[in-house]
Structure formats: C-alpha cells, structure tokens
C-alpha cells in the first residue's frame, strides 16, 4: 500500500497528489450539496468550459518556469483570433470553405508566434524584465486590436468553426480533446526535449546555463514564440466558443492563469514545475466554479474562492506553518 503511494508520489510529484486529494474532496462536498454535480451533463459542460483557461494557462507555463511571465497572453489570443476572423470575412464569412479555415488558422498561429517571438527577442537580447516587456506588448496588442476593430465585435463564421467550440467527437467535447492534445504535447516538450530541458535550466540560473553551452537566447525566443502559438490556439477556440471576436474577451482570465500555475506548484522563482499538477489545478478551479454555480452562487464568488484557495494552498506549502505551529505549541 505504501509502495503504491510512494510510486504515485514519485510519478506525479508531491503537488499532484495533494491536488488529487483536494479534487476528490471537492467532488464529494459538491455532490453532497447537490447530487446534480456528479452527472454526465455537468462534467460535460466543464469539459467545454475548462479548455480555454487551460490553453491560456499552458501558454503562461513555460515563461513562468523560465523565471519570466507573459502578461500579453489574452491579447495575443485576441489578435490571433482577429487574424483568423479577418481571413474568414475575406473568404465570405459563414460561407468560407475548409481551405479558408486552414489558411485562417495558419495566419492566426503565425501572428501569435510572432508576437511572442518579438517579446522573447527583447527579453533575450536586451535583457529587459519579462514583466515589463510583456506588459508593453499587452498594452500594444490591446491598442492594436481596439484600433482594428474600433472596439466592436466581429462575427459570422462558418459552421465548422462553431463545431470546434461546441461539437464533440465520440461523445467527448472537442475543446477538451484539443486541450488534452496540447497539454500532452507540452508535457513531452517540457520533460523530454532539449528545448524543455533548457527552459528549466534558464529558469534556474541563466548564466550557468549559458556557461554549460545551452543556447539560452534562442531558448528564450522559443519560449515566448511557443507561448504565443498556444495563445493563438486559445484565440481560435475563444472565437469558436463565443462565435465572435472582441478585443478584451477573456481579459479576466489573465490573472487566473497565474493563479492556476501557482496552485499547480510552479516555483515562483522559476526552474521547477510540472505540467500535470497545473492541469489538475485548472480542473479544480473549473469544478469549484461549476460546483458553486450549481449550489446557486455566481461566478464572482468563485473568483473570490479561487483566490482564497491559492492563499490556503500557499500557506499549507509554506515552511513557516510548521514553525508557527511549534511556536504556538510552546507558547
């Protein structure tokens, strides 16, 4: 029995195990409060809702492991969505064909990766702080988007696009499948490729990584370019889910992605962190939100609870807790 626990811990990491326990507890509590929670329909609706946050969180993940941050994720997603929408409109809106969809997606991915690559290049070659660079890029992209759309919505897409947001394959929500595919790719990218290895090393000590012969500058450009690429995927999904593009869509998710990442046990100073616990924490946040919704609370309460959750988890992980406890016992 302990062998299983040990092996699970080794395979998943300490964070993941704690989060799984948390998740099971939460399912139990919500099910007790409303049996509706443990139903196919409620899980299916989570499967449609969670992937957007999930993709954006993955976009945030590698920059944070590398000791940086990408505050421009939402607007990179918006701008990429805009690029996609522009191709759709050129190709006749709802009548656009498969070729146009592919072309639009390609353009969106290029735009997203480009926005990221520019940030990465400034961070790598100028040595400016990622918070500052991505903040500048965020403000720029938001402005660019508002300028292009004049603050309005763009809608009218072919049905196939809607299917990405609302359809299912073999009964599983398409967005969920998309998310699982990207998450798997990122798990492999970060844990098994040379680039992924370099991400962790850069986050741990960039100069030592350079001395060991890792291409640190190229790694930084790649990190942000790939982050932009995932943003573009998220942007297309967002467009498919809302059936429209508006600059500012999903803005509230920016800090939630950071929250999910910290919840997933990523080292705030960079250098450490795994994909799996972060994915778990995304589903925990989603369950919390859906569960609270089911028992009649609104989205805002779940926002607050998310924040409290993060604080609670950080307190539980804190070494200080033990010492405070001892202090209390002694006193």
């Amino acid at each position: 029995m302990t062998g299983i626990v040990e092996r699970a811990r080794a395979a998943l990491g300490r964070e993941a195990l704690g989060l799984i326990v948390l998740m099971v507890g939460m399912v139990a509590v919500f099910t007790a409060a409303n049996p509706q929670f443990l139903s196919v329909s409620s899980f299916s609706s989570m499967g449609y809702q969670a992937p957007l946050l999930g993709l954006l969180t993955i976009a945030m993940l590698a920059p944070m492991i590398s000791g940086g941050i990408n505050l421009a994720i939402i607007f990179t997603a918006n701008i990429s969505g805009l690029a996609f929408a522009w191709v759709m409109l050129k190709a006749g809106g709802p009548e656009a064909g498969a070729l146009a969809i592919v072309a639009g997606a390609a353009l969106a991915l290029i735009v997203g990766a480009l926005a990221g690559a520019i940030m990465g290049a400034i961070i790598a070659y100028v040595g400016a702080h990622p918070i500052l660079v991505s903040l500048g890029m965020m403000i720029f992209l938001r402005g660019l988007g508002e300028f292009l759309t004049k603050g309005g919505d763009i809608s009218g897409f072919p049905e196939a696009v809607g299917a990405l947001g609302h359809g299912d394959i073999l009964g599983l929500p398409t967005p969920l499948l998309l998310f699982i595919a990207v998450a798997l790719a990122w798990q492999i990218l970060l844990r098994r490729t040379r680039h992924g290895f370099a991400v962790y090393m850069v986050g741990s000590n960039i100069r030592a990584a350079e001395y060991a012969g890792l291409p640190t500058k190229r790694t930084l450009v790649m990190i942000y370019a790939l982050s932009g690429l995932v943003c573009a995927i998220a942007g297309i999904l967002m467009l498919a889910r809302f059936n429209s593009v508006r600059v500012g869509h999903g803005e509230a998710l920016l800090l939630v992605t950071v929250l999910a990442i910290f919840l997933g046990g990523i080292d705030p100073f960079g250098g450490h962190g795994k994909v799996f616990p972060v994915i778990l924490s995304i589903f925990i946040l989603q369950m919390l939100s859906s569960g609270l919704n089911l028992i009649g609370a609104n989205q805002h309460l779940s926002t607050a609870v998310w924040g409290m959750f993060l604080i609670a988890v950080m307190i539980l992980r804190s070494d200080r807790l033990a010492s405070l406890y001892h202090l209390f016992r002694k006193g």
Binding site: G127, A128, M137, F140, R142, V258, F269, M308, I311, S318
Partner: protein
C-alpha cells in the same frame, strides 16, 4: 548640472523625452500649451499618480502589488455604504475611513507575505481575486449614485477664465495627489524608515543582519500602498460622482507599466518619486498629445504600448533576468 547627473540616468532621460514631447506638441497644436489643457491633464491623472506613488513604495521594498486598483474599488464601496449609513459624514470622515480601510487591506497582503513567506506577486494576485470576487458577489455589481453631496461636489481650488472664455481649473484631487506625492517623497527620502525600506529591497539578507525589522518593513510598504489606494478611491469618486464596483478593474497593469518606466526596479532597492511621476506623466502627455493631434482614440494604446516597447529596447534598462529575490542562495 551636478544635481542633474546625480538625478539618475532613467529619470534624466525620461525628463528629456517628456520635455521633447511637450515642445513638439506645443508646436504641432495650439491647444496643448493652454492652461485649460495642462490643468485637465493634472485633474485627469491625479488618481493614477496617487496609485503610482503607493506602488512605488512596494516596488522599492522589493515587492509587487497587483491588487491596489481592486482594493480602491472595495474601499470606495465600503466607505460609501458606511457613510450613507452614518447619514452622510463629511470630508474628515471620508479621509479617515478610506485611509484606514485601504491601509487595512494593504496590511492583509503584508501579513500573508511576511507571515507565511509567500512571495508578493502570488499573494496579491490571490487577494486581487478575493477582493474583487467578494465585492462583486456582495454588491451584485450594483452601482451607488446617491452619494453624499460633499463627496460628489467638485471642490475647485483654482479657476481661471481665459480671454476666449474657456475655463481652466484645478480640483481637490490634484491637491490630494500633491500631498500624497510629497508624503511619499518625504517617507522614502527623508526618514530612517524609508531608507530602511530601500535597504530591505536592495539586500533583504543584509538588512535583516543589520537588524532591520522586516515585518514592519512589509507592513509599511503594503500598508502605504493600501493607504494610497484608499486616497485614490476617495478622489476617484469625487471625480466621477458614482461608485461602480468594477470601474477600476484592470487599471493596475497600466499604472505598473508607468511606474516601472519611471525607473523603479522590479526586485527592489531602486526607484524615485520623481521618476515615478515622470513615468506617469510621460504616458499621460503622450495620450493627451495623440488626442489633440486628432489621432483615433483607438490608436492611443497601441502607440503607448509601442512606445513602452521601444523605450525598453533602446534604453538598455538592465533589470537583470528573473524576478525579485531570484538569486541562487550564495551559501
């Protein structure tokens, strides 16, 4: 000249850039260099400046605060409800109440950061969600319009009618802003507490060994930031004459960008009130100038963002890699 060189590279360069923009705008438009425009620039940016100096103190102490704008929303709502219950209150009560609530919320951040040794970006992202979520949950997003007269009435400190009949005026928020800026300058430059804040941000371990009380430093930094959020809350209501719970949501990152542009360093130990004011005014004047030049308002932010990116890329503000405290323990 000697003083100018001592002023610091970033401040000096920013001053030159700001002066150049002002000269250019005075030549390009006949509306920029008018009393009316300059006073409205001050009136419109007083809230941003109050936030900025509060945030500056946190940055100097080596922290970061994402929650201050949302904190202001909480302060103004709670204060409004309270004052209405009291039967209206007056300016004195307004200042005391807003200052206390703001400082109290800041101290919540400080307690979590110091008590459990959680880094400030994690804590303030969490409290950002908690504050905003709870505010929206309890208020159900309803605004307050029936404010006490003293609060909603404009207090004009200076007015002048020019020959062509245009009114220019300075209002109370400008005076409060000036007081906040001066108080912050006095704190960080002229008191031993402020110097300990710098030392703490510059080298926390060195400060600890010198006997600086770190708990008090965190409390002072975040409490000050919270107090300023309280002042900003009070003044913002005075300007817009209503309390809208989500009106200030999302303003934090713009203020952060301006303060960092002014030379405050993420990671602590660096930053001046002058630089901070220049940073905010640089953004404000650019925006104002674009407006006067008849540039589409949708293009403002794009240009501001691009300006920040260019400034970062060319100024070689070597902020170093990694965030606050990102030094491998030199054992």
């Amino acid at each position: 000249m000697h003083r100018l060189i001592r002023m610091g590279q970033i401040e000096f360069r920013l001053l030159i850039a700001l002066a150049a923009i002002c000269v250019a705008l005075s030549l390009a438009t006949d509306t920029f260099l008018t009393l009316g425009n300059l006073t409205s620039l001050l009136n419109n940016n007083s809230v941003n400046l109050i936030w900025a100096v509060g945030l500056l103190v946190v940055l100097i102490a080596g922290g970061i605060d994402i929650s201050f704008a949302v904190m202001s929303s909480v302060v103004q709502y709670v204060a409004a409800v309270w004052l209405l219950k009291m039967g209206g209150g007056n300016w004195f009560f307004g200042f005391v109440l807003c200052g206390l609530i703001g400082a109290g919320l800041g101290l919540v951040n400080a307690a979590l950061i110091h008590g459990f040794r959680i880094i400030s970006i994690v804590v303030t992202i969490a409290t950002f969600n908690v504050f905003f979520g709870l505010l929206m949950f309890f208020t159900k997003g309803r605004s307050i319009y029936n404010l006490p007269d003293w609060w909603a009435d404009r207090v004009i400190l200076f007015e002048h009618q020019s020959a062509d009949g245009n009114w220019s005026e300075l209002t109370l928020p400008v005076a409060v802003m000036a007081a906040c800026v001066f108080a912050t300058w006095f704190l960080i430059r002229r008191t031993n507490l402020g110097r300990q804040l710098y030392a703490f941000g510059d080298n926390p371990e060195g400060a600890r060994r010198a006997g600086v009380n770190l708990a008090v430093m965190q409390a002072l930094a975040f409490g000050w930031c919270g107090f300023m959020a309280g002042m900003a809350a009070l003044m913002q209501v005075n300007i817009v004459r209503e309390v809208v719970p989500n009106a200030l949501y999302g303003r934090e990152l713009d203020v952060l960008a301006a303060v960092v542009l002014g030379g405050a360093r993420l990671g602590g130990g660096k930053g001046t009130v002058l630089g901070c004011v220049l940073g905010v005014m640089f953004v404000a004047v650019t925006q104002n100038g674009l407006n006067l030049l008849g540039v589409s308002p949708f293009a403002f932010k794009m240009i501001i963002g691009a300006a920040i990116l260019v400034a970062i890329s060319t100024s070689n503000i070597s902020l170093g890699q990694g965030r606050a405290g990102h030094r491998e323990a030199a054992q």
